[in-house]
């Protein structure tokens, strides 16, 4: 690194207030040219707010941004791109029905003729080994390939600073490795990278420096190669880490929850059809379903909890075939579920917590007599959930929408777990939840299983599944792999399964400079 050059980006005293919270409080750090700089912190630590100010989406209330030695104001993203700041968002903004080339052209500030653009795109893809056919329709691409579109789009502007917001949360382990190769090459050529993540082993593997944010403040700037994952995690959450306590010599009982030959055609345009899914979960077992987002996880959850009825014998609880039963009937038999989306699916945002309790607990906990709701019973149970799961809420009459994401998730998990289900199906149990709440949720799942329930955990977070589950399988394009025992299977193997069909299709389908696929 050249120490003579001014810092590529230097922030000093950056403060941003929103009604009720200080999202960034006197934040300052500096990024050298060619440095890969990690911005580390839990959800809600203020990482996103900070990079939105660098990229011009938000304006700081106080503080200065210095760009290559000159103080600058970034009024909007267009100005940021003009300065040489590129950003790859966590959520892609792509048109599914258009080609890669059309999507990139739409995102550019300047109009570039298609032929010239294509040759520039091909040059960039060749240079960085980003393999992608410019004429493929986006809806046929995997998530990893879609991310490459966003990266190519950012690189076309020859940025001096590339901001990557949680880029690996949707990638398979192999795709993560490929991404890191590209990022290292970019850094070597002098482009600085601001890498936002909460995954510590990635930061140790990739980054030169890490700035750790907690509650909107910088708590430390350190060298991740020197720190341990544990020490960084503790700085990030500001407390000691709690490990999941599992009983020793766990034994499993009889099969409680079996799925056989479950197939379901998707009627949505870009939905995923489930094909011949089968697995069996025994009493006391925690079974994980890994996979990259959008491979049929949502469809599977809807089939398992009864929101979309399937064939009668496709799903069996203990000895009862429940495939045709509706959610209420399955709940009466002991099957509780937590879908991924909290607002508007697992909970109604503008209802009180008590009313949200009535939503799923009314039959199992006898909150209804003669068609009338026993408001008192709902309130008592809600209070119980709030205390047992340490939910930060004003009380049972607080609206679900007034809770933070982590607290709402704790409430929802608590609402289902305290109903003592014999089968619990959860999707993304700790998505967007801080480490403290995540640990509490994990422990509650383990404790439920210890009481003899069968638990299915659907998650994109492989680390979570490996820590939590006894067995797991991988879902890819609506198909589920064989069941594997955690501890006996390697991450590489799981990663290959996660990449599944996409990985092989990519190799046979696309090579740089290959003949154009037929445009649709």
């Amino acid at each position: 690194m050249d120490a003579e050059l001014p810092f590529r980006l230097e922030l000093a005293g950056i403060t941003k207030r929103f009604p009720g919270v200080v999202a960034n409080d006197d934040v300052g750090f500096a990024v050298r040219p060619g440095e890969i700089h990690a911005l580390l912190g839990e959800n809600g630590a203020g990482k996103s707010t900070l990079v939105k100010m660098i990229y011009g989406i938000l304006q700081p209330d106080a503080g200065t941004i210095t760009w290559n030695g000159h103080p600058v104001v970034v009024p909007n993203p267009k100005a940021a791109r003009k300065l040489g700041i590129g950003m790859v968002f966590q959520h892609f903004s792509l048109f599914e029905a258009l080609t890669v080339l059309e999507n990139i052209a739409l995102g550019l500030d300047a109009k570039v003729p298609a032929r010239e653009l294509e040759s520039r795109i091909r040059a960039i893809m060749q240079q960085y080994g980003l393999m992608l056919d410019p004429h493929r329709i986006v809806s046929t691409l995997s998530v990893g390939e879609r991310q490459r579109i966003e990266i190519v789009r950012a690189l076309l502007l020859e940025p001096q600073l590339l901001i990557m917001d949680e880029p690996t949360s949707v990638l398979t382990p192999q795709e993560v490795d490929q991404l890191f190769v590209v990022l290292r090459q970019l850094a070597q050529e002098g482009c600085s990278i601001l890498y936002i993540s909460h995954k510590l082993h990635e930061i140790k593997a990739l980054c030169d420096t890490a700035t750790i944010l907690r509650g909107g403040k910088v708590v430390d700037t350190c060298d991740p190669k020197v720190e341990t994952s544990r020490s960084m995690a503790e700085k990030m959450i500001g407390a000691g880490l709690k490990d999941i306590v599992k009983g020793k010599n766990r034994t499993f009982g009889a099969p409680r929850f079996s799925v056989k030959h479950l197939s379901l055609k998707s009627d949505a345009q870009f939905g995923v059809s489930l094909e011949d899914i089968g697995f069996e979960v025994r009493a006391g077992e925690i079974f994980g379903i890994a996979g990259v987002a959008g491979n049929g996880q949502n469809e599977l959850l809807l089939a398992l909890d009864g929101e979309v009825p399937v064939g009668r014998d496709a799903i069996v609880m203990d000895t009862t075939a429940v495939g045709e039963l509706h959610p209420s009937e399955r709940r009466k038999l002991g099957l509780c579920a937590v879908p991924e989306e909290r607002h508007g699916h697992a909970a109604v945002s503008d209802f009180t917590l008590s009313d949200n309790t009535v939503l799923t607990a009314r039959d199992r906990l006898r909150m209804v007599t003669g068609g009338l709701i026993k408001a008192g019973a709902a309130k008592t149970y809600t209070g119980e959930v709030i205390t047992t799961f340490a939910v930060k809420a004003l009380g049972p009459s607080a609206t679900a929408g007034s809770l933070s994401g982590g607290n709402l998730q704790k409430y929802i998990m608590g609402r289902e777990i305290l109903q003592k289900p014999s089968v619990l199906v959860v999707s993304q149990p700790t998505w967007g939840v801080d480490a403290g709440a995540a640990a509490a949720i994990h422990q509650a799942i383990v404790d439920l299983a210890a009481q003899g329930s069968a638990v299915v955990v659907i998650s994109q977070d492989l680390d979570e599944l490996l820590a939590l589950c006894d067995t797991l399988a991988v879902i890819n394009s609506g198909r589920l792999s064989q069941k594997m025992v955690v501890g006996e299977v390697s991450i590489e193997e799981i990663g290959l399964l996660m990449g599944g069909v996409h990985g092989t299709a990519e190799e046979t389908h696309i090579a740089p400079g290959a003949a154009h696929a037929v445009p649709a």
Binding site: G20, I57, P77, P327, S328, G344, L372
Partner: protein, 360 residues
């Protein structure tokens, strides 16, 4: 200095209840300005319309009689709208209710007994439900938009009314006028007190609102309607069927509109005439929204709209205001109410003129 609408983190409860009050006040102000510009005594007109019906005890009965059908229909609509089922066909269901009741009346002209009126009322409710069942079927089986089907059925039913009045239902002793015979005493809604025009429909409206309030706030049915309306995915997850809710919402709102229709036919009208459809089914939409889709709110809102009807009539005779004035005031009321409702979820924020709002 510029202003921008900014989403509130939480819907404002204050604005939720302030919006209808503001809408009424703004309607009065805008009405005064409008009628002054047209050369009338604007302030006088507004006072005449909005205060005369309240200050003159003789008009209180009129208020009750006008408010009763509005309240009954609006309570049904508020339940449907809560479930996100947009029944715009209350006018038709109201007429259908009257047709159902009248059919019984015409068959029982030579009979007597206390059972006749209850049968008429029952048939009125069933007729309203039957008409609402058509859009319910189309919506749940074929996914046809209920706004269009309910709206179009209004015109079909009114034409049916005209057809019947000119053919088989025409009073043979009626000098060829298109109207049914007058109902007999057994077929007419009795008055609360002799010598007044206050009929039993008025207390019925209050009872309907109270029952609906209890059901909506305490029962699983009310819960189901609210969940399906606010979060359809959560409703499915909670085990509530969306199709069942569409059926229930349309049957309840259609049945109540039918009840209002048969009460009106057996009460103030005592027969069916071509002038029977007076737009109560449309005005009740305003009542439902002004009453914040709450059954008890509909009682207050029903009285407010009844004031505009009664006051409009007063102003016609005393100030010579055109009869369209009532419609103008009701239209302005809905307009200001919908505009005010924007501020339940949004607020105005002053932004500096520096080009900072460009970021998307």
């Amino acid at each position: 200095m510029q202003f921008r609408l900014e989403k509130r983190p939480q819907p404002s409860r204050l604005m939720l209840y302030a919006a209808p009050v503001l809408a009424v006040l703004l309607t009065m102000v805008a009405g005064a300005v409008l009628f002054s510009a047209l050369g009338y005594n604007g302030i006088g007109a507004v006072l005449e319309i909005f205060t005369k019906p309240l200050t003159n005890p003789l008009k209180w009965q009129d208020l009750g009689v006008k408010a009763a059908p509005l309240i009954i229909i609006a309570v049904g609509l508020s339940i449907a709208y809560r479930a996100n089922v947009w029944n715009i066909g209350a006018e038709g269901q109201y007429v259908a209710g009257a047709l159902g009741g009248t059919a019984v009346a015409l068959l029982t002209m030579k009979m007597q007994g206390p059972w006749i009126l209850p049968v008429m009322i029952l048939c009125g409710i069933l007729a309203g439900m039957a008409l609402a069942a058509i859009p319910a079927f189309l919506k749940t089986q074929l996914d046809v938009n209920e706004i269009l089907t309910t709206l179009m059925l209004n015109y079909a039913v009114v034409q049916l009314l005209y057809f019947l009045l000119r053919t088989s239902w025409k009073d043979p002793m009626g000098f060829s006028f298109p109207k049914t015979p007058l109902f007999t005493a057994s077929q007419s809604l009795p008055f609360l007190w002799p010598g007044t025009i206050m009929h039993w429909g008025v207390p019925t409206a209050i009872v309907v609102a109270l029952v609906a309030w209890f059901v909506m706030s305490r029962s699983v049915f009310g819960f189901q309607v609210r969940v399906v309306g606010s979060a359809p995915n959560a409703a499915r997850y909670g085990g509530f069927s969306a199709k069942r809710t569409v059926w229930l919402a349309l049957l309840v709102s259609g049945g109540l509109a039918g009840l209002a229709g048969v009460l009106e036919a057996a009460g103030p009208f005592r027969q069916l005439v071509p002038a029977f459809p007076t737009g109560y089914g449309f005005t009740a939409i305003i009542v439902a929204f002004l009453g914040r889709l709450s059954p008890l709110g509909c009682v207050i809102a029903g009285l407010v709209l009844a004031i505009s009807y009664v006051g409009g009539e007063v102003a016609q005779t005393t100030l010579g205001l055109p009869s369209a004035a009532t419609g103008i005031f009701q239209g302005m009321l809905l307009f200001f109410l919908l505009a005010g409702d924007v501020f339940v979820r949004y607020r105005l924020k002053a932004v500096s003129t520096r080009p900072a709002g460009e970021a998307a």
